[in-house]
Symmetry: C2
Subunit: 196 residues, 2 copies
Amino acid sequence: MLPESLLQQIAFIKEIDKLKYIQRKTRLLNSDRHENDAEHSWHLAMMAIVLAEHANEPIDILKVVKMVLIHDIVEIDAGDTFIYDTQKSHSNADEERLAANRIFGLLPEEQARELIAIWEEFEAGETSEAKFARTMDRLEPLLQNTSNNGGTWNEFGVDYSKVYAKKSIMKEGSATIWNYAEKLINESVEKGILKK
Amino acid sequence: MLPESLLQQIAFIKEIDKLKYIQRKTRLLNSDRHENDAEHSWHLAMMAIVLAEHANEPIDILKVVKMVLIHDIVEIDAGDTFIYDTQKSHSNADEERLAANRIFGLLPEEQARELIAIWEEFEAGETSEAKFARTMDRLEPLLQNTSNNGGTWNEFGVDYSKVYAKKSIMKEGSATIWNYAEKLINESVEKGILKK
């Protein structure tokens, strides 16, 4: 009686509940409580919706929102990769692809294919939507670390040049938001919460 | 140099971080850990995206996603209202309206007006988008309670007739999803995790 597609979708919806347990290195604003991937994904979606006007190029905002909502789902299997961890970021792309196939693969075939394609588009970072989504993904931890006395920069000894290198891709998504981010980074050096 | 709109949007983005601290009564699937509003909102957005095909009427999915992402933001000021708490649900509509004006009011005027209108549309529950969004909001705790041996139903002594009354509005958003929900409710009675 119930359509098979609905049962597959419910299985997917139950499975992704696990994203709420994946802890990130960063902490909530003015807080020592770690953020989890589900909260992070919600926040990026809200950011994309309110900041869309600052994108360099016209963007399909629904696609950007889908991208940021799903971008970390692979971490249910593959775990969180810290952006300044050079070892892991080179070694777990295969693991993430397997995770995408397993988890999105719970959905009806056409839907699985669509979401895997959106996730891959985000990972490749080449379209205007992916560039803007990645700008959101870089901005949130910047707001967190500047509110937390340097946050993960201090905790893991990350200096200005590393932060600048990782963050400067933000300009590909939004020159305006990058101007703001660059100002925050420079102010962090002046305040002594980011080492030069 | 930086546009005023961007600074207003950043203030809003920082403020809504507080949604991550608002605890719901329900708990994660197969878990005793309470869910917070940010995780809940993320999950509803994912549900809306994958279940859209089952809506009774054509829906603007971007609007539904915006609705569920923002629907609980007022709880930053007004607190979580438990669905089976008849006292509070009658008394805090004014408080929620004040909260909407304060929090969305941090945004540039036009954007504030748009998001307040979407929140009010959700609250009124009359459009096809609002009906579908509310179906998502009713479905998630049903999945949680059935996975948690009755969850909040047992914890707060809520019986079949109350659950049925609250959940049956799901059929306004999706007859198909309501069929599934009704089956879950009836099975819960059979299993003895929901009292008749």
